[in-house]
Structures are given as structure tokens and as C-alpha cells.
Symmetry: C2
Subunit: 798 residues, 2 copies
């Protein structure tokens, strides 16, 4: 059998560390991967072309992306070579995830695919199935989805390859994450700043990321910037980012194989040298990590021209270079000769199985990138040792009889989580320069902020081995954390509430990943993605309107109920309970919203645990309804809870005959029907709490309509009146923020009066008193610039 | 009067193109700006320190950001110098927008502030008011908000300074946009890629952007990356981005003034030379634009130490370096001596007015950056010449009797808009490499894609004077468009529906800007921000689940009703009407969702205009209810409309006795109560259309709960049943996408049956038939990989 590579191989004259025979095998393996990529896009049947290609063999709808696939295959084949030669622990992040056919092809060739999907056998029938299922109803997606072995990165929405790769490499000292970055993706903002992740990766402690910038020159219909700028600019840019780039450029396969082999050997050696130096000499200076720039034609080895138009090396290769195969016999012939150019008969034996001598090129067992356990992170997941949250409880002798900053208390808990898990190095806290601002500073008693740059004497807790990850890029924080979680570790992202919207789309993709991965039998559960949203809408004293936006909750609850949770703990002890619950959970996105300012505490620890376990409850100590209220006053969120209690206090003082039930909601999803969300209350329980016919006044942390959206099917929805943030804000006092949004105690009292007709004429004087209080407040803050003492210092006195 | 600068001035020995006297004046002006910045943060009264500073003169709540302010002031003062010397047309984009005190101070000093706010007079009373209002209830925000003269960029959420600046510079050949980029902001993704905007700016046609990277070294609690990396790396990075950086570095004011003056003269000369060459020789190669790196201490000229801790040149200067002024007399004395270090008596005359010789340093009239009309873009807005959309109408002899791709038709309209306004150069179309994919390719008949890099023979419509802006960065597209609109021009952003979430937070900030600017009397209306969202959730055949997300609409409707609009035109002619309406509108964000695939057309142009004018309507031609329906079948969006009609057809064929009313919604906000949204239907009109008691089956483009949220107050809400996208997707056929989300015709028929009890036993057989059809469909697509012909080719036959 002839394993000489494609004809052009003969022409190369570069120095050849790669023996010709090995080169021939590599090229053959690459041809096999390319063949399988094209086959997936086009073929329904006749997978080995053992009969002449007929229209009936071709899929009726041609979907998928050829353009990037041969480059992805080329890289995979060469990575296999170094993995096998040096027994490397490596995973593959395919930024151009729409090159799904390439990753499916390679995991199939190495055998991991058939292990995960036994139906897709390594024979002609398996090949037929492999081809048919791609982008086919009931089959597999066209991207490197959660169904794809070896993937932690779907890559449909571009921008996150490099931050995912760094997240995977943190705390995995033996791992090398090869990260292919398409030159399209390289134009996105998140990717453009993710290069700076190298400033946070410690070669002594962490693994390595090998960025491979793949310049194939084109996007959907445009050239790419990085492929067209002066190569000297490109080189300066990459060096400016702190890398030492090496270039593999051309289109002649043999020459390219030789170049790539040499360069890969060099960069692996360099990575090993950097690591050895860091690990033996405890060097803390950031090294210039190597990277590769691979410049190869888009749609490499595909049709040179289609209908007289340049196709290989052009954006016309982006998706499906040949179309109308059922009606255009020329195209059908061209497809057949394209497929045959890979010489499938040389690659697959009579049963359709990859020939043994090629099979031998793939690594074995878990060294295969499709079977590397890092890419199925749940396999490696070790649960966190969690301290008992009772140990951090704020003493609350009576409701309101203590003050605390909720997130500061949480910080003490996180400090202990950090300490208890230090030896396993599987927990990090992420945030855009806000860990201290968000009052989680206790963490710095046990760890520092990861930092590999120069330090100065007055720096605050910068450390090469820090486990708090701070960069002023929400995208990088989110991407790092996702990569860290998907490789089997734990973390928390604390962020200003308004600016978490910066990663809305990243959250979307992660939530989608979780939904799909839960249905993939071999994917093991991973730790949940935990958000602490603080510096929230009601307390943006320094910043104002631009920093006021509670809409991330609305965004989150659009995703599948079985992957999302939203918690609004009203005080420190409930925040502790919720934090512990989130850190124990798996395969979820948990959103926790809690303030950082001093505020009254409501529940002692036992009560907090009970309340959080239920997720919602009647606060008897604040209620006087004896089981039959005139009015239900519900609240969710710390600011609304305080304000509701203040309103209740006024009502009870002035209208003691009014029977009020106070309901507090910690777990927002309890409001949804049980059929819609696993945490949803049954209608019976909901009706018991909210009644079926009494007015409900609900003070909610965010946009009020969300509560309507969650409850519109409930019996008593018609009596529900919700107050919340209605996009009125500026730089003003905390209480004035509530006033502007009609959620202050005085407005709530008026709302209550309006909803209890039984109060009759006795209501008028109270309403007038509330209006007077609002006018007095306005006058006071206009004069003094702060809220009056009776509001600042208000406490609950039952 | 002594106008010698701060004492350290004497020490500088650099060559001095700046005469000492001018330097002294410049420094004095800078001191005045710094004084006013500190005063705004701290003082309630005693604005000129004409009596000893007492606690009562100090604000009770200290809010604001000092750290960046002296640098912003330094830059402003020096820009004033070159504006005045060379009569430049310049605006100032302050990336660190939280340095609001600096911009307010400077516009006050130059006089523009008092012109816009006559109450804030140029005397001691005005100073008192200026100080007091800052971050004070009822006063002005702490950021460079819409209330700040000269601002087009609030800068609260970091990342967008540079893309805004480029957007402002496009098509403004005489304008120079000075853009200050904080080193914190420089870490964000959107900013990191916005540097590449220079590849799209044509020096012959566009103005110039002068980036000023301000390295003050610190964020909130961390050093910044770009300030700490090796300066050679920084230089390589900036050169890699395509700029020629010049450095102004130090902390000695005199030396810094001299350096800055020299460098600014040089860069302005260089900009002029680049422009002259491009404009006389029609050079199309991208120049290496100059930029400035200003390295100065954070909190420059502020307290060196506070309580023994380093403060100037440290992150402790970020917000308020001195606190507890009411209780700490040492701090109060330190504040007084800090303020006095600027020597206010030398700066302001006995009335509190800036001394004449300093006043003379500011430019005059509209050359003042606070009064430049570009920064109040509505002043410069010229309405687009819009073609009559009738000229582009698709002929629709009868409903369903024509096929068209809606966005392709829209593309023809946009081509004419582009052509008609070519001479005024005030219209551009933005999109991340998707203009052709989204079938707006007709634009390329009259313009190209802006592109300043190398071209190759097979490139497609790349042109240095192109007006289609394509970069694979939704952030850059959005930022450019915002900058373009806020300086008085028009545009449209076309994007894949799912990926518009990438700019959720940018949309938030723009919507907030619009809300605030509408309340600023001197801000003139600007053109609306128009989104075309296509390649939508129902037609992601090539990509699958990661590309399926209709949630941007949900995100948008959280913002103030008077700035947002959402349109779901069901076919090409309605899309034309909506497009024309959006391009005429002002101060809005318009979201238009429309598909690009061939589909039946429902309305001729007259009917489309009528329908769009109402925004919602009963389609009589599809209804048989004679004013008294058994069932209302409503739809919004092109896919739901088609599917609803297909279901209606089945129902009418099999149960002709069932009286069905078909309602189509183009303008989603008609569903909201009129009290909530200006386009909302009155309850009476809503009830007339939807009835008060008949079942409503609503097929909606996006997440179904949004329709509930918009309608929960309507009389008939209890009878409303909504189908929509419920986060079920993959790579599959178009019809299977509907099936997976229960919104296909067969499910809709079953839903209808379930909701009309009058059908009684006659329902069972039809329900069974629908189930059979679903099973047949499943079998067909599993076999063939595409939808059966009777579904693909279905047309309405009334």
C-alpha cells in the first residue's frame, strides 16, 4: 500500500527532522480526517465511494462549514504526533467550533468517538452513520457541542476560546491546552483581551496554553484583519500581548507538515523549559510563552474553483463550497473527485476501518484528546470541603436587632472555603477588580490576587500563587471560570449587578451547554456557575444611573428551568445558607443578589436555614394576620425586605386592626408553577401562602413585571400588585432611589391603603401623612444631601 | 498677580517650545480645573475658601472619583491650547467617565456650562451651586452623563470610548476626536478590539481619532496591566494595533506641561500631514496614526499620604482620598491645605470668576469642546432622504400568492437610501460580517465595505470609501453606530438575532443615555438606533442551538417605554414599511426582527402600510368569524404567522363551522396597556380585537412568557395561551424547530381544539389526525433529512 502523501509532497526541500515515512503517514491521517469532514457535510450514503457517486448519496440539505475544517484537522494530527511522542496530557479547544466535522472526524479516527457512541462503529456501517447524523434531524449538531468528545468549548458564538483555554489550564500543571483561534474570532473584543490572560498564569502552578492563531484569511464574506495587516504589525501585536510567535505558513502539504512538526517540537520544548525553570527555581516572572501562527488556505485541499470562481483560499469555502448537487451533475462529479483526491481506499481497509498503520498514529487511552478526562470535567470533580455556615452566623437576638454587611460575612465564609480546599487547588474566586469593593476582602487573609507582573511596595495582595482572579474584563472572568468549571473545578464570580449584562451572551452559551450536556450520558456533572451580584441597583451611591440595572435575572430565567436558580437572600445569614447551597450544587447556574452595605439583620442562623430550605415563607414575627390576613405584603431582595418591614411597622402603628401577612422570598423560582420549574411551589402551597383572594403587595428587587411573568398562572394573580425598579435612577441617596421607583415605605403604605377597601375613611389621614413624609424627605435631602436620620437609622421594633 | 506655576515648575530643564509665561498660564488653568474637581467632590459651601474650612462646608456623603480627574484636566487644558492655536474642530471623549468632575470643571471654566445651565453662574454663587449639585440629590450625576456639555460618552460602563470616538470621526473630515482611554478600560474586551477601528477609517473622507492612553497605573484596588507590563511590550502592542505612540511620562507638572505641549503639536501636525496626503494624493493605504501614552500619577496633585498610607500615585486615590471629614479634624485640615495648594485666590477674582488672563486660554464659541455641535449631534442632524417604500413592494396578487426573502427586499430599499444620501455622507450600515449573509447585498450595488488594508483580486466590494462597516465584533459595530448617531448621523445595525446579546449591556447604556438626554433641554433629538435582527431563531439551519435565542426583545422591553420599539413584520412589504418608519424616527431604539429565507407574502403594499400604521390588526382575509369568533388565533413574527395560517387552513378545512379570527401583530408594544407604552392599545381597542371572553391562541416569535408579561392586565388575559420558543433547538429542519417548541401547525390545531369545547366529540378525530401527521413528519425527516414537500411548499389557499 502506498502511503506517500499528496503529490505536492515531493517538492519540499526544507530540512527534514520528520522522516519521510512518518510524514507520509501523517499526511495520510490528515487526508482521512479531511475525507471524513467532507463526508459528514455531504454524504448520506456510499461512505467509501465504493460505487459511483449518485445524487441519492448526497444529503438534500447541505449544512456545515468546510472552510476551517482542514486546518483544524492539520493541527489535530500534528498534536497527536507530539502527544504520542512525548506522552503529553493535552486537550484541544477549537475556537472555530463550527468546524465540528473536523473534531468529530478526529475523535472517530482515534477511536474515542465509537467508545462514547457505540452505534457509530469503526466500519463502513459506522462511517455511514457518522456521515448521516451530522447536521441531520435527530443527529448531531454542526458545532463542537457538548456531544463532541474532548470538547469543553462549543465555539458557536465566537470570542471565548482563549479564556476557556486559560481557565482549563489554571491549577492543572501537567496539562497543555492547545487553543485554536480563528482569525475571525480574533477580531472579537473578548478574544482581543483574552490574550492578556498570560499575566495571570503561573508556570509553576498552572498548566500551559498553546495558542494557535489560524490565519486562513477569511470570514463569511470578508478577509480577516489579522491576515491582511502587515506581518510585522501582527508580530508586534502578538509580542505586545506577551507571546513569542512562531510561524507555519504555506499551502504545500509536505512543506507544511515539515514546518509544523519542527515548530511544534520547538514550542513543546519551550513550554517544558519554562515550566522546569519556574518549578525548580520558583521564578515568578512572567515568561514569554510560545505560540503558533498557522497561515493556511481557507478550505485547504477543497475545490480550487467552483463555476470558475476561486474557492480554495477564499471565503467561498466558508460553508459548503459545492451546492445543488441533486441538479448539477458537474458539481456532483466535482464532489466525487474532491473526495477521491484523499484516496480513501488507501486510508480505510475493506471493512471501512482506518488502516492499522494509520491507527497507530493516534495516542492511546486517555491521552487521546477525545478521551482526555479534563474535557469531561465531572470525571475529575472533587467536591469542595465546605465549612458549616453556622460558624459564620451573625448573632441576631431579635429580628432587626443586629447590623451587618452581608457580603462581608460571606467573604469570611469564602475565606474558609479557600483555606479548606487549598491543598486540592480547585477553588478560585473571579471578579473584575471588585473583590475588595464587594467586601469579600477576607479572602485576602488566605490568598492573594493572581498576578505575574512587576509588583510595587504598596501593592495589595498581589501574588503569583493568588487564587483571586481580577482583571477589568467581565468577559475574561466569565471565560476563565467556565473553563475552570468544565474541567472539574469550582468557583464564584462576583460582579457589580449592572455590569453582569456584559456577559449575557456568554451566560446564554454556558446555559445551553449545560442543558445539552445533561442529556449526554457520558458527560459527568460539573460544579455550578455561581454569580454573586452585588453593588446592586439600590445602592449605587457613587455611580448613578449607568450602574443601575437588575435585568440579569430576567435574562437568566429565559433559559431552561432545570439549569437556572435565582436567590435573593434578605440578610447575611440567609446569604451564608444560599452560598453553601450553591457551592454544593452541580450543573446549574446560580444567581445570588445581595447587597454590601450595612443593614439590619432579620434571621438567626436556624431561622435562616429553615427559610432558605423552603425558599419562601411567612415571617410570623412580622405578621399579625392569625391565618387570615387582610393583606399580604411580600418581598424579595434585601432593600425591598427592609422597606416592606418599615411599611408594615407604619401600618401596624397607625392601623393596628389591619391584619398583615409578611412573606419573604429567597428562592425566586418558588414563584413559578411546579410544572415550570423544579423549585416551583405547588398551587396549593402558593395559595396557602398568598391566599386565593386577598390583595398582595409585592416589593421586588428588580423589574416588577418579572414577578407577574412568574406568577400569571397563580389563582390570586389578579390581586397581585408589584413594585420594583422601573428604570428611574441617578446619583442620589439610597432612600430617594426607592422613592423614585415608588418602592419606599411611604409609597408602600399608600399602596396598601389603596388595596384594602375595608380601611375606608380611616385611610385618608394615613395617606396624607405619607405624602407629608415624602415631601419632608425631599426637602431634607435637597438641603442636606443625605437621608434623614430616622430613615438612615431605622430599625424594626415589633 | 503671580501666575507662576506650582513650585516644581522651576526644576524642569527640557527644551521649551512653550514660553514660560504660557506654561504658567496653562498650569494655573489646570490648577483651576483641579480645584473645581476637588470642590465638586467635597464642598457644600465656602467654595473659594474665603473662610476657614469647617465641617459644615463639607458634604455629608462624599461621592465621586478623584483619581482620574487631574489627568483628564491636564489633557483638557492642553487640548484647549492646540484648539485655540490652530483653530481645531475637536471633541473630547472621556473613557474614564467617572471623572465627571473634570469635564464639568472644564466646561464651566470655558463658559459653556453656564450657557447651558444659566443658574450655574460664573461667580461665587455659581461656584457654590456647581459644587453642591455634584452627586447631590436633584443635582448632576458623577459621570460624564448626557447632562454634561460636550459629552457623547458617559463612560460608566467601560469599554466603548474608542469605538464611540471612531463612530464620531467617520464622515466628519474636519473633526478630531480626542479619546482618553483609561488603563482600566483598556483591559476590557470591547476596548481591546476597538483599536483595530483604524483599519476602517479613511483619512481622505473621515476625521481623525487621537487616542490618549492614560496610564495612571491603578484600577479600584489593583494595578493595571498596561501600566505594569514591560514598556517595550506596550510599545509593541500599540504598534501592532497600527499606531505610532508618543509618550508623555512623569509627575513634575512643569516638565509634563512642556512634554505634552511638544507632543500634542507633533501629533496634530502629523494628523494634518496624513490627511493632506490622503486628500491630495488619494492615498488609500492606512497610515500609522499617532497616539499619545500619558503616564501620570493617579490622583496627581492630591494628598501624597493619608493616615500614613501612600495616596497620590496609588489606587487609594480612586474615589475619595480623604473621608470622615466631619469627625476627623486632621483630614479636614488636609483637605483645606490640598484645596489651597491650587491657590484659588490667584485663579478667581473677587467675584469668584476665573481671571481674565486665564479665561483667555479657552477657545471661543463652538470651538470650546463643551459647545462643539458634534457633541450635541441633533444640532447637526439632517433627515435622510427616504425613497417611497412602495417602489420596492413585492407584488402580492392574493395573500400567499407570492414568495420573497424579506431582508433581500429590504436590502433594495437600503440601497436606495444609501444612494439618495450619498452626497450628504450621513448614512452607514453596520454588521459583523453578515451584510451579505443577511441578504442585504443590494447595498453593494452602490457602495462597498469600508476597508483600508491590502486587497486581493477576488475580494468582494472592499473599498476605502465603503459605507458598509463590517468587523467581526458586535461591540465595535454597536460602538461605531452609537458614536455616529450621537454626532448627528443615521445608521442601521444588522445582526444575527442570537448574537445581538453580545451588546446587551451597550444597548442598556445607550437606552439610558436616550432617556436622560430627552430630559436635557439643550440636547436635540438624534436619529434612532435601528437593529435588524435576522438569521433568527427559527432558521438556523447551518448552526443549531448556540445560534437560537430570541431574548433580546425581552431585554429591550425592560427599558423605558418611551425609548424602545419592537417590530415583527410578517413579510417583505411590512418590513419595508417598518424600515421606513424606523429611519424617520428619533431618539429611539428600534428592534426589527425579520427572516431572510424565502417565504409566502401576505400583504400587498397598501395593506402593509395600513397594517403597519395600526401595528396590529385582524386579517379579515384569513378569518371567518363574522365579528363573533369562537377562537382568536394571533401571531407575531414571520415564522409564527406562516404557521398560524397553516393551522387555520387545516381547521377551516376540517371544521369549517369553527369561527376563527386571525390577528397579526407587527408592533409588539401595541400589546402593552396604553399607560405603559405610547404604542399600547387602549383596553377598548384591545378587547375589540381579542374579545373579552374567547380563547386566544397566540403564536409568538420569541419566548412565550413575554406576551403574558405585556398583556397580564388585559381583560381576556385568562384565556390567552401562548406558544413560542422554549429553548428547544438543535441543527434540524425548519419545521422540526417548530415541532420541538410545540408551535407547528399540528400542535396549534390541537391547541385550538383543546380551547374550543364546543367542538366536542368532533375534536377527537382531528386531534388524532394531527398526531399522525407529526409521526409521519418525524419519520420523513429521519429518512430524508429535510421537511416533506407538502410542508416546504405549503401555501395559503383561502
Amino acid at each position: 500500500m502506498d502511503l506517500k502523501a499528496t503529490p505536492s509532497l515531493g517538492g519540499a526541500a526544507a530540512p527534514a527532522p520528520l522522516p519521510d515515512e512518518e510524514l507520509g503517514h501523517l499526511d495520510a491521517y490528515w487526508r482521512a480526517a479531511n475525507y471524513l469532514s467532507v463526508g459528514q457535510i455531504y454524504l448520506l450514503d456510499n461512505p467509501l465511494l465504493r460505487e459511483p457517486l449518485k445524487p441519492g448519496h448526497v444529503k438534500p440539505r447541505l449544512l456545515g462549514h468546510w472552510g476551517t475544517s482542514p486546518g483544524l484537522n492539520f493541527i489535530y494530527v500534528h498534536l497527536n504526533r507530539v502527544i504520542k511522542a512525548q506522552d503529553l496530557d493535552m486537550i484541544y479547544v477549537a475556537g472555530p467550533g463550527h468546524g465540528g466535522p473536523a473534531l468529530v472526524a478526529n475523535t472517530y479516527l482515534e477511536g474515542s468517538y465509537s467508545e462514547f457512541y457505540p452505534d457509530v462503529t469503526e466500519d463502513e456501517a459506522g462511517l455511514r452513520r457518522l456521515f448521516r447524523q451530522f447536521s441531520f434531524p435527530g443527529g448531531v449538531g454542526s458545532h463542537v457541542t457538548a456531544e463532541t468528545p474532548g470538547s469543553i468549548h462549543e465555539g458557536g458564538e465566537l470570542g471565548y476560546a482563549l479564556s476557556h483555554a486559560f481557565g482549563a489550564a489554571f491549577d492543572n500543571p501537567e496539562l497543555i491546552v492547545a487553543c485554536v483561534i480563528g482569525d475571525g474570532e480574533a477580531e472579537t473584543g473578548p478574544l482581543a483581551t483574552a490574550w492578556h490572560s498570560n499575566k495571570f498564569l503561573n508556570p509553576a502552578r498552572d498548566g500551559a496554553v498553546l495558542p494557535i492563531l489560524h490565519l486562513n484569511g477569511y470570514k463569511i464574506a470578508n478577509p480577516t484583519l489579522l491576515a491582511r495587516i502587515d506581518p510585522r504589525e501582527l508580530d508586534a501585536l502578538l509580542r505586545g500581548y506577551g507571546y513569542a510567535p512562531r510561524y507555519v505558513e504555506g499551502n504545500d502539504p509536505a512543506a507544511m507538515h515539515r514546518q509544523m512538526a519542527v515548530v511544534l517540537d520547538e514550542v513543546i520544548a519551550e513550554i517544558r523549559a519554562i515550566q522546569a525553570q519556574a518549578r525548580t527555581q520558583a521564578a515568578t516572572e512572567r515568561p514569554r510563552w510560545p505560540m503558533i501562527v498557522l497561515r493556511s488556505p481557507k478550505g485547504w485541499t477543497g475545490p480550487k474553483e467552483v463555476d470558475g470562481k476561486k474557492t480554495e483560499g477564499h471565503f467561498r469555502s466558508h460553508q459548503v463550497p459545492l451546492a445543488e448537487l441533486h441538479t448539477n451533475p458537474d458539481h456532483l462529479r466535482q464532489l466525487e473527485s474532491w473526495l477521491k483526491s484523499y484516496r480513501p481506499d488507501e486510508l480505510f481497509d475493506e471493512n471501512g476501518r482506518l488502516r492499522t498503520e494509520l491507527k497507530a498514529l493516534a495516542p492511546q487511552g486517555t491521552r487521546r484528546m477525545g478521551a482526555n478526562p479534563h474535557a469531561n470535567g465531572g470525571l475529575r470533580l472533587r467536591g469542595l470541603k465546605l465549612p458549616d455556615c453556622r460558624a459564620f452566623a451573625v448573632a441576631v437576638p431579635a429580628p432587626g436587632a443586629a447590623q451587618a454587611e452581608s457580603t462581608r460575612v460571606m467573604g469570611q465564609y469564602l475565606r474558609e472555603v479557600m483555606r479548606l480546599n487549598a491543598e486540592h487547588r480547585n477553588f478560585r474566586v473571579f471578579g473584575p477588580d471588585e473583590t475588595a469593593s464587594n467586601r469579600l476582602g477576607a479572602l485576602f487573609e488566605v490568598t492573594g490576587r493572581a498576578w505575574m507582573e512587576r509588583t510595587e511596595p504598596d501593592d495589595d495582595h498581589l501574588a503569583a500563587d493568588g487564587r483571586v482572579m481580577e482583571i477589568l474584563s467581565e468577559h475574561s472572568c466569565q471565560g476563565w471560570l467556565e473553563g475552570y468549571l468544565l474541567t472539574g473545578r469550582h468557583g464564584l464570580f462576583s460582579c457589580y449587578e449592572a455590569f453582569i449584562h456584559i456577559v449575557d451572551s456568554m451566560f446564554n452559551q454556558h446555559a445551553k451547554w449545560l442543558k445539552v450536556s445533561k442529556a449526554v450520558p457520558w458527560r459527568r456533572p460539573v460544579a455550578s456557575l455561581n454569580y454573586l451580584l452585588t453593588s446592586h441597583v439600590w445602592r449605587q451611591d457613587h455611580n448613578g444611573f449607568s450602574h443601575q440595572d437588575p435585568g440579569f435575572i430576567d435574562h437568566v430565567v429565559n433559559k431552561k428551568a432545570d439549569v437556572i436558580r435565582v436567590y435573593l437572600p434578605p440578610d447575611a445569614n440567609t446569604l451564608l445558607c444560599v452560598t453553601e447551597c450553591c457551592l454544593r450544587s452541580r450543573d446549574l447556574v446560580n444567581v445570588v443578589v445581595a447587597g454590601k452595605q450595612p443593614q439590619p439583620q432579620w434571621l438567626g442562623m436556624d431561622a435562616a436555614i429553615k427559610h432558605c430550605t423552603a425558599g419562601i415563607g411567612i415571617w410570623d414575627w412580622a405578621s399579625n394576620d392569625d391565618g387570615d390576613p387582610d393583606l399580604v405584603m411580600a418581598c424579595a431582595g434585601d432593600a425591598p425586605t427592609l422597606e416592606t418591614l418599615a411599611a408594615v411597622q407604619i401600618l401596624r402603628e397607625h392601623r393596628p386592626e389591619l391584619k398583615i401577612r409578611v412573606v419573604n422570598v429567597v428562592d425566586l423560582m418558588t414563584l413559578q408553577p411546579r410544572e415550570e420549574h423544579p423549585h416551583g411551589l405547588s398551587d396549593r402551597d402558593f395559595d396557602t401562602i398568598f391566599t386565593t383572594d386577598k390583595p398582595i403587595l409585592f416589593a421586588y428587587h428588580g423589574y416588577p413585571w418579572l414577578v407577574h411573568r412568574l406568577t400569571y398562572r397563580r389563582t390570586n394573580h389578579g390581586n397581585l400588585h408589584v413594585r420594583g425598579y422601573k428604570e428611574e435612577g441617578t446619583t442620589t441617596t439610597p432612600f430617594d432611589m426607592l422613592v423614585r421607583n415608588d418602592m419606599d415605605r411611604f409609597h408602600l403604605v399608600c399602596d396598601a391603603i389603596d388595596r384594602v377597601p375595608a380601611l375606608g375613611s380611616r385611610a385618608a389621614s394615613l395617606r396624607q401623612a405619607m405624602r407629608d413624609r415624602l415631601i419632608e424627605h425631599r426637602a431634607y435631602i435637597t438641603e442636606h444631601g443625605e437621608d434623614p436620620p430616622d430613615i438612615r437609622d431605622w430599625t424594626w421594633t415589633a
